[in-house]
Amino acid sequence: MTSPLQRKLKITGPTVVTANRLRDGIVVWLKADGVWSEDLPEAAVGNTADEVLDLLDIAQADESIAVGAYPARVNIGEDGAVVPGTLRERIRCSGPTVAYGEAVAAS
């Protein structure tokens, strides 16, 4: 029997699984060995729905390290580098696009 999640998951290109780390909320990506990383380039990339579902299963099986896991599209550069595929994910990856706090006060 196909799960509702499988029926809904639509993969349009290379995809990683991302979440926020439970203890501090920072953005993390799932590696192929099932460990969470703070570096997107280390993330496991799935290219089919089955591959991404397998990653999601690993991510969602244990929410003691990271929470709110979901698939996020990425782009693969000519050099093989993994970069975020959307503006939202670029901001999650690199932080706010604006200066904040003392950096603003000092400018």
């Binding site: 926020n20 439970l22 203890r23 501090d24 909320g25 920072i26 953005v27 929410e63 003691s64 929470v67 709110g68 959307t86 503006l87 939202r88 901001i91 999650r92 932080g95 706010p96 696009t97 604006v98 904040y100 706090g101 003392e102 603003v104 006060a105 400018s107």
Partner: protein, 549 residues
């Protein structure tokens, strides 16, 4: 300032202990995320794009100097040295770690602060006029009633799991500075036949389905405030939709049922309870009033020599923009603009918060207010101290004389922080602020409210901006819908969409064309932007916005 009693202090301490235990159990795996999420939301803790966000309640926008210092401490110790003041008179910290949140909350509780009623489907922090207790145009201080509502609504067993969040705003002045007509319930103190009571408005709100609130009772005697609110909440709680989050606010219920029928049901409910335990008696009101510390105002003359001899043009410009009359002679209400040119609207650093707390203590009877326009206010300052205050604020970078002008932009955090946003808001606000940075030009343009929201949830109140910008995403590109003619005051009106969304790269140019059109078509400098839009309609503005270039 309202001073908490032993009951309130114990309640906050117990909440910290409870939350510390909940966090420990979540971190140990004893609680699942599904179990923990509603518990953290009841304490103002969200999980945003980059980190947890803590929203701290500032009851009716009133802070003491020690409380502002406590916020500075949290910013410095647990966050990244700054906080963001919100359109509901609260403050948000964007980088809090879950494992440190119990300690942050314990530190806040020592100053009587917390995150209760800042999230979740409960009755949220009641907002009010930031000039309350200071403005001469006030009938009565609305904060007394906001505090009554706080005491009644906190942990109210019947209203802790409403269909959706519930926001109440209250004003006691002729001019509405609390946007009461765009709240779930708006309350306006007014006088009838010599008696003061409330006009009660229901079903206002912004978000994806904006409505202006409908008056369901022209005059409610003050002693019935809580029984009437309870009748409204009960009618909503029983009949509000729970099947669709987008249709769960009271505004949808009022709209679908009709204000007349809604009012009839409320009145029927109220008739059963109006003279019960919730009727406010003189003793209760006197007790609450007694816990509000009113400054012992010095007897001072208006326009003292210290004020009149200061002739620095920059000071005179700031005074004309940021100072309004106070009810007490020799005093003034001072707005501190948190909108320096090119900065994120509503942000303040820990050092700025500490310094403003010091200034409030030294020159402002120790009180600070937060406005829904995301500025701070010193509600009681001595006129003779204004030149000194101006210099101190200028040194802190918070003396930009742009209050109420085109660069006094209301903006939500947008996609730079918020998990719900579709587009960024802050960079657009910054670029508009830079485009209109010339102070002479801003003065020439005059009163203009420009509000920006990064998604349909409308935290930036774009519907009620004279110019409203709503971010929409199309194929991962940022666009902005533009509305004109909105206003959030006593004659509240929703802005009209002028046409298709414009690309993010064009939005500043389009805003400038709208402003230039106003300048070209106004009858005189006395005709404000909003008055010109009301007279001309949106067509000439639409024409200039979309004219081929």
């Amino acid at each position: 300032m309202y001073v908490y009693d032993e009951f309130d202090r114990s309640f906050l301490q117990e909440r910290v202990v409870e939350f510390r235990d909940q966090v420990a159990r979540r971190l140990s795996g004893e609680l699942t995320e599904d179990e923990f999420k509603p518990l953290r939301l009841m304490n103002g803790v969200y999980l945003q794009l980059h980190a947890y966000m803590l929203r701290v309640c500032i009851p009716y926008g009133t802070l003491s100097a020690p409380q502002l210092r406590a916020l500075a401490h949290v910013a410095r110790r647990y966050d990244r040295n700054y906080g963001h003041f919100t359109t509901r008179q609260n403050i948000q910290f964007n980088w809090i770690k879950l494992e440190e949140l119990p300690d942050a909350m314990a530190d806040l509780a020592k100053a009587g602060l917390h995150g209760i009623q800042t999230s979740g489907n409960c009755i949220r922090n009641t907002t009010t006029d930031p000039w309350a207790g200071a403005t001469p145009e006030e009938l009565e201080d609305p904060r007394i009633y906001a505090e009554v509502i706080r005491q009644w609504s906190t942990n109210h067993p019947e209203f802790t799991y409403l269909p959706r969040k519930f926001k109440i705003a209250i004003t006691g002045a002729q001019r509405d500075r609390a946007a009461v007509r765009v709240h779930d319930v708006g309350l306006r103190l007014h006088k009838r036949d010599g008696e003061i009571g409330f006009e009660v408005m229901v079903g206002g709100g912004l978000g994806r389905t904006p409505y202006i609130g409908k008056t369901i009772r022209e005059f409610l005697p003050k002693e019935h405030l809580l029984s009437y609110l309870e009748a409204i909440l009960r009618t909503y709680n029983l009949g509000g939709r729970r099947d669709n989050i987008y249709k769960a606010r009271i505004k949808i219920q009022v709209h679908e049922m009709g204000a007349e029928e809604f009012s009839r049901r409320v009145e029927r409910e109220w008739e059963e309870t109006r003279d019960g335990a919730l009727k406010l008696d003189d003793e209760t009101m006197a007790d609450i009033r007694s816990r509000f510390i009113t400054p012992d105002f010095e007897k001072l003359p208006d326009n003292p020599l210290e004020l009149t001899i200061e002739q620095d043009p920059a000071f005179l410009r700031w005074k004309a923009n940021s100072i309004v009359p106070h009810k007490e002679p020799g005093h003034a209400i001072l707005t501190i603009s948190l909108k320096p040119v090119g900065a994120p609207p509503g942000d303040a650093t820990a050092d700025q918060m500490d310094a403003i707390a010091d200034l409030a203590e030294r020159y402002g009877y120790g009180e600070i207010r937060v406005s829904h326009e995301q500025n701070l206010i010193l509600p009681h300052v001595r006129q003779k101290d204004l030149p000194t205050l101006w210099r101190a604020l200028d040194a802190l970078g918070v003396a930009t004389p742009n209050v109420g002008l085109v660069t006094d932009i209301i903006s939500c955090p947008g996609l730079d922080y918020c998990a719900l946003a579709n587009t960024r808001s802050i960079p657009v606000a910054q670029r508009i602020s830079e485009r209109f940075s010339d102070l002479e030009r801003q003065k020439e343009i005059g009163l203009l409210h420009l509000n920006i929201s990064g998604c349909i949830n409308a935290c930036g109140h774009h519907h009620v901006g004279h110019i409203g910008l709503l971010g929409v995403e199309k194929k991962d590109e940022e666009f902005f819908q533009i509305t004109l003619g909105g206003k959030g005051n006593s004659k509240a009106r929703l802005g009209s969409l002028i046409g298709p969304a414009v690309a993010e790269s064009e939005v500043v140019d389009v805003v400038e064309r709208l402003v230039d059109t106003y300048l070209a078509l106004r009858t005189s400098p006395q005709e404000s932007f909003i008055a010109a839009v009301e007279r001309l309609g949106i067509d000439p503005f639409k024409e200039s916005a979309y004219a081929p270039r």
